[in-house]
């Protein structure tokens, strides 16, 4: 009764959760394009898209992807054999346990009328499948906690998934072990199935079961009498053999039984197997009920992501469907860390403490953003910086085992975040190159604003740049001068004698009829400002951000001033200053 009620309860939560999650696929959004599509439009576009795909040649692609990527998981194999073995063990083992063992009433007994959980091959297979899952868990634990893969992050959901699987499996194996040894269970079976009721015969049967079946009896112990064993075998063959194979084939349970046999009688009296049964069932129900809200939801979302990505692309798919796909992709992520391990700029996380640099962690932040969770300004700026610190090398997309188009996702999220209006300083770096190549897909104002905003935020810290500002004859800012020390070359500004060779050869200066108006302060003036310690002039000019780093100035300086390197360093300082102000 308790089992039935709790099962239906778990199923109900699971069902509602599933519906809720599916509804979020059409309601939540990441990018700017998604803003323009309503939930109804997205649902309609999805149905239309699916229908068109199913009745086109693409059905063959879907079929191939389902076999190769969903069932055989070749994308994981391409990454790493050990990880593929881990996941195949977990997923094949668990699926088969679910079908053969958990749903035995509905599936196994229907397919095999002679099915009994206690006869072979079922008894053996149950342990074999269990063994696969346990092997998978062991590899996962090894990978996450012993191998120490650089920058691979393990979060709450990973702990949860490993814990719930471990509890289900271990409680199952222990339950089997205690049932094998259990004397009370043995007695129940005798009452239920034995035809003969003769005292002597029962004693013989018990002896036989203690010797051959691992039952731990309070009275019957080794050494055994050969004659008694022989008649026990006969009784066994008459009453038991049809429905009960030898437990040795349930190798996990039998090993457990052998290990616990010294304390088996105590365990039996304490009804440990009943407790284990409850743990086993309740853990399963919990896993079921919580599944839509946990990372195990990837069971549904990952195949969808793989299938959708195999037939969709940015050019031909409707923006509504891309928006929906991106939310499914957020659910499809298993936090396996492939993207992070292969990320081209992941190494930056070692010196810039922002978790959002790592793709696998960005997904977590985007999930919060998409579901409308409130993020503080500080958090939003962190996500924005993490997403901008990306060379768009597409490695994450190529390696994702569940086929998430991370490249597209970063692009959508980047623009949506920039639109919120917080200055992002990495826009003033070659990380913007890709964004520039994609500018034709962006709205003109939306494209320019973040660039202007970052420059303005930096210049706002440099009051001398304002034309109406009176410059006080204050003493030189010595601290600023001595701060220019990241690289020994930066301090060379002190030998500048103002010949202006740098400014003369600068291609940026040469590009304008009125360079001072456009660029603010010119290269030789910046060197001079550094010498005087006038940090505002050195840090606030447009010249810094328009510098091409072509090194013409440095190459031509008769005094050996490392002008380009000084400019590099000033950029670092200016951003640091503006960032400090913002936080």
């Amino acid at each position: 009764m308790f089992f039935t009620i709790s099962l239906y309860l778990a199923l109900a939560v699971f069902g509602v959760g599933l519906l809720y999650k599916i509804s979020t696929w059409f309601r939540h959004r990441i990018g700017l394009d998604a803003k323009e599509c309503s939930t109804a439009e997205r649902a309609a576009a999805a149905i239309k898209g699916i229908a068109i795909t199913l009745f086109s040649g693409k059905i063959l692609t879907l079929f191939r992807v389902f076999i190769v990527d969903v069932l055989l998981q070749i994308r994981v194999l391409r990454q790493d054999f050990l990880r593929w073995l881990m996941h195949i063990c977990l997923y094949v083992g668990f699926m088969l346990l679910l079908l053969m063992h958990a749903l035995d009433k509905f599936i196994t007994s229907v397919l095999f009328p002679e099915y009994y959980s206690t006869i072979n091959p079922f008894m053996f297979l149950r342990d074999l499948f269990g063994f696969l899952v346990i092997l998978g868990i062991a590899i996962a634990l090894y990978r996450r906690f012993i191998m120490k893969v650089p920058r691979l992050q393990t979060g709450g959901q990973d702990y949860y998934a490993l814990t719930i699987l471990t509890v289900i499996m271990i409680s199952g194996v222990l339950l089997e072990g205690t049932k094998i040894t259990s004397y009370s269970r043995y007695q129940e079976m005798v009452e239920e199935y034995t035809i003969a009721a003769d005292e002597e015969e029962l004693r013989a049967l018990e002896t036989y079961w203690v010797k051959e079946f691992g039952v731990v009896s309070p009275t019957v112990k080794a050494p055994f009498d050969d004659e008694l064993l022989e008649s026990g075998r006969e009784a066994h063959e008459m009453s038991c053999v049809q429905c009960h194979s030898k437990p040795q084939s349930a190798f996990l349970g039998y090993t457990t039984a052998k290990i616990i046999s010294p304390i088996a009688l105590g365990l039996d009296r304490a009804k440990i197997s009943t407790i284990l049964l409850y743990i086993h069932f309740l853990a399963c129900w919990l896993g079921l009920a919580y599944l839509p809200f946990s990372k195990m939801f990837h069971l549904f979302a990952s195949p969808l992501s793989l299938l959708a990505n195999s037939v969709m692309d940015k050019e031909t798919s409707s923006p509504a469907n891309i928006a929906t796909r991106q939310i499914i992709e957020l659910d499809a992520c298993t936090h396996c860390g492939s993207c992070t391990v292969n990320c081209s700029v992941g190494i930056a996380f070692e010196s810039i403490p922002n978790l959002n640099i790592l793709p696998s962690e960005k997904i977590g932040s985007l999930r919060k953003l998409a579901s409308g969770n409130h993020l503080t300004e500080q958090q939003l700026r962190h996500v924005q910086e993490g997403i901008y610190l990306c060379t768009n090398c597409e490695r994450c997309t190529l390696v994702c085992p569940v086929g998430i188009n991370l490249q597209d996702m970063w692009f959508s999220a980047r623009e949506a975040l920039l639109e919120r209006g917080y200055p992002e300083f990495f826009v003033l770096s070659p990380f913007s190159y890709y964004r520039g190549l994609m500018r034709q897909s962006l709205v003109e104002d939306g494209y320019r604003e973040p660039l202007e905003r970052a420059r303005e935020a930096i210049a706002a810290e440099c009051h001398f740049m304002s034309p109406n500002k009176l410059i006080p004859l204050s003493p030189a800012d010595r601290a600023f001068r001595s701060d220019l020390s990241l690289s020994a070359q930066a301090s060379t500004f002190s030998v500048c004698f103002g010949c202006q060779s740098c400014t003369t050869v600068c291609p940026v200066v040469a590009n304008f009829d009125n360079p001072e108006e456009v660029l603010g302060v010119l290269p030789h003036q910046i060197m001079h400002a550094c010498g005087l310690g006038v940090s505002d002039l050195a840090l606030g000019s447009n010249m810094l951000w328009d510098c091409l780093t072509c090194y013409q100035c440095q190459e031509h300086c008769p005094q050996g001033v490392s002008i380009t390197d000084v400019l590099y360093e000033l950029k670092n300082v200016a951003v640091k200053q503006a960032k400090q102000k913002a936080s």
């Binding site: 010196s351 768009n392 190549l437 990241l486 072509c550 490392s562 950029k571």
Partner: protein, 298 residues
Amino acid sequence: MKFGLFLGCNIPARLSQYETSTRAILARLGVVLADIKQFNCCGYPIRNLDYKTFVLAAARNLALAEKNNVNLLSLCKCCYGSLKKADHLLKEDTLLRQEINNILKKEYLEYRGDVEVKHLLSLLYHDVGLGGIKEKIEKPFSGLNIATHYGCHALRPSQIVAFDDPVAPTIFDQLVEVTGAESISWSAKLDCCGAPAWGINDDLSMDLTEKKLKDGRQSGAEYLCAACTYCQIQFDTVQEIILSSRGNNLNLPSVLYPQLLGLSMGMDGKTLGLSMNQLSIDGIEDFFFVPESEEVEG
């Protein structure tokens, strides 16, 4: 010593023909390459904002090459300049090196400074040699005017990158001429391609690119020739944007050096990924040298 091929971030995503054509010509010339999957960003884009992270990123690549006992072969000049610069800084500054190595230690890596960073052009010129290349030329060009674009980060700062004479370089011109093409003299040869400003100040970037294209055309070039990822994307993809947004008629397509060399070695356009260039360079195949006797027969 073997060379670890350092592709950087842009080639695999946006310029794969540079990789395939390079592999094709190097295989023909007998240069053995090692592929190290774990290479990361060279550090170049991070340098504007975070000096230490730039050095760290570059150092990890150098350390990976050391671990695999290979030298680094860069195809991109910005990667090249960045790796060279970081290598120099790490050699000069022991404190910085210690700090970086402390981070790399977590991955069982260490920067020791035993790796040489080379650009494709230096490898071809110094290690393979013009003679070695000449032997493999099967279909030399004739009457093809090429404007070589050296690329800033290969030439300067010359003390650190030590690629060629920073004021009057010749390596690239000689490498172009070995294919039978003519390397023209043009005044904007050593100027910036404009790529560093792209995405940050597009107008400035387009101005600079346009100046080069104009000078190249006026000096009689049929094609630009680049051997750098950023320069090539600038001359190809960005030039296309310039042509459409500024509406002028300055079309001067750019061919990647390994594509040019590969064609003269008799490789087909497909192997060299000619069709993957945004601005068509198919016309270049009209410039193969045709011996007069054949012409009469034809």
